[in-house]
Symmetry: C3
């Protein structure tokens, strides 16, 4: 399992205890049930539950929470609140609002004005004193390597690249003007306006041998991480949103955009200017033709094209049929 | 009405008087009518007429020009020239050429080699000594904040961001590698080649609480301004061309491109990779599905999809019908 | 013919002779035929054959190789190997692998860790001491102008622009955050993974009066060059891949992507968000509507739209027909 220490990237602003959380959410609180009081140091997600954390739940998850004695659950779901297996639960009116308030109370992250860092200027690049860069790697000019960032062996980070909140493994090449690890575009769909954007406190993990082109953007995970698998190669101006997970050996052509929480298997091949709806799964060995719009899950070994993306043979037949009809 | 002082952003190169303009346009001049001579300090537009200015007119506008005694009109339209309500008029063969020559004669702007500025380096960011940045705002690293730029309270300007010719209000967040306020892509459609690109001398105004993602480009207005309304949120790699006006509470997903002079009402929701033709109007509360190509005006409260964008229910029905036809 | 001296951009790492090449490709070698031994200083391409070079051939080319006595041909094609007109030939199993190994053995290029350069900081821009910039040109802030780059007269290079491996002629304007001359996305289609990306050792040539918008990426040629013709104007976020050649007076709107080795005639007009398949030819005076996907050659004076792009009148008729069918 991929792992990271959030505290490396940004510090805890306030050391709070679980019973202080209701002071943060205030009028948003409907009901509470407490068995124990403990220090809060982390945020859990559906996928990774941690002790000494807050866990935000809209619905039940598979993880057996019995093993986590120091988790406080925040939910807007009365069934979860009534589930007696959960020991420490707060029922709230608005879960997104609770998330935003709690995250911003605990952590001092980059989108908050009190964020601080110390750095060196090397080759006119900003290198945080709290970044860990292997001495076989090379950072070109005008880059920003933020706090907590790790860069492995033999990496080449070209010019004007911004890397924050990220772990870059070995032999990775990142081309000019690319931005990795900034805040993504997660928000409360039921409310309008930028004040409903969720703070993002996850990271980006880029595995061995990945090649990333120029002017790409790879957003940090919301709570956990955005991940690019080994040996993957990504062309210019590719946008990869928060929580996306891409398998090994991906080949992604220019100007493709991958929405939040898309998960892809190994060996995907994606043409240029493809778009993906959020929260879908793409199987392994899938080929997606250029300019496709992928709106739902794609099973292993499929070859698709069009918008909405369908089997490429059907797509081609439709085009030939349209031509024959004298169009 | 939104207002700005052009002279803050770039200086007047030559102090000219209205009767000197014909020396600038030379052989382009066909006829002239002069009642008075006055100093020229500004350029007017269809929407904002200013005294002591030049106004370029292809056709009549609604503004009553009687109140503006110190406006000289340049037109290629004989009817406008013959309209005796207009006191100071020059009739020209080629209006775009006149625009280009006059602008470049009067103003010393960024696309001209004699442009000068003085700056400080703070956090390795270039900060013009003539920028006004509120002390509660934070500029990260390797940024450029150009001459005349105003940045309000509690703004966060991340890394490698370029902001020129812009007024940024309060609580605005701008993510890495974004460019705001550069010269847009306005040109003379009847002529070929980059020498027919128009100088752009407007600005960008970004209102309170706007969130702008990474690697976006927002071009300055041609004469007036490009505007992003309050609480709007814009994802990564969004392109917003000159003179675009976006209302409050917009939500615009990644890789969307908005052509010049598009005007949008409040509360628009726009998916990823959407494109807009220039000079169209999008009503309030409009929803535009991802990958749409919007070619004409969209009325309030519409939900559209496809290219050309149509009512989303019709678009969906067409797709289902195509499937049933054995496609 | 456009010409450049590769050695200006990156140095020869190892001075090798033709008979040493088989030591580089090792087990990849099947057979060899040698008439002479000579120093290797260059790489030839299908289009430009040079003496003292290696030439990689999959199939026969038109150039009469008799005039080139100091060219060693590497091929995976038995017919080429058996052609007795060719004096120095190595037959290999995998041509791409041979290309990668030989290039990386001879040249010290930017994607290799031992790359070195010396530079000055001017306006906080990195200017290689081995760049040639005309004193009438202006480089704004936080730029990188790499080794060997030439910039002609009266150019304006705005902020955070990266220019490497490029020759920029006169009166060129390049807007903020654009990347020119980085490594493109050429790879071995038969193998998966970033380790099969080909080293790119060509350059970019941008001819007189070209205007390039913000956040564009123009990749260097693989062996020769990517070329943008005189007076062309390119909007924001346009991606131009390796080996693309664009004629004079092109007009290319925002967010368009042009795949590798596309060749265009003069006076093309291309809307926004257009995509091009690789290795196709676009005639002169062609107009391509916004959002088109161009999949094959387009003849002179055509006007096309849609995906796959077809004659725009047919495309419009299809849309009207779809409407009439009650869709």
């Amino acid at each position: 399992m991929l792992h990271f220490i959030r505290n490396n990237f940004f510090s805890i602003k306030n050391n709070i205890k679980s019973n202080e959380i209701k002071d943060i959410i205030k009028d948003n609180l409907i009901n509470e049930r407490f068995f124990s009081n403990f220090a809060i140091k982390e945020i859990s997600s559906f996928n990774i539950v941690r002790n000494h954390s807050v866990l935000f739940l809209e619905k039940e998850i598979e993880t057996d929470l019995h093993n986590f004695k120091t988790v406080i659950i925040i939910t807007n779901n009365i069934k979860i609140f009534d589930n007696e297996n959960y020991q420490n639960v707060l029922l709230v009116k608005n879960l997104k609002e609770a998330f935003n308030n709690i995250i911003n109370s605990i952590f001092s992250h980059e989108d908050i004005l009190d964020y601080h860092d110390e750095f060196d200027l090397v080759n006119n690049s900003y290198i945080s004193k709290k970044a860990l860069i292997h001495n076989t790697s090379k950072i070109f000019n005008n880059c920003v390597i933020g706090k907590g960032v790790e860069i492995g062996k033999n990496c080449i980070i070209k010019n004007n690249v911004v890397i924050k909140n990220s772990i870059i493994k070995d032999n990775v090449i990142i081309c000019d003007n690319t931005s990795i690890g900034t805040t993504g575009f997660g928000f409360d769909f039921e409310k309008r306006g930028s004040t409903n954007l969720n703070p993002q406190i996850g990271i980006v993990i880029i595995d061995n041998n990945v090649h990333i082109g120029s002017s790409c953007t790879i957003d940090r995970g919301k709570i956990d991480f955005t991940y690019i698998g080994k040996n993957s190669m990504i062309d210019n101006m590719v946008h990869i949103a928060h929580n996306v997970q891409i398998g090994n050996n991906a080949c992604i052509a220019a100007q493709t955009g991958i929405s939040g929480s898309v998960i892809m298997g190994d060996n995907v091949t994606i043409g240029g200017q493809v778009g993906f709806a959020g929260h879908i799964k793409i199987g392994k060995n899938v080929v997606i033709a250029a300019k496709s719009g992928v709106t739902k899950n794609i099973s292993d070994n499929s070859v698709v094209a069009g918008f909405p993306a369908i089997d490429i043979n059907i797509w081609k037949r439709n085009i030939i049929k349209a031509k024959k009809n004298g169009h």
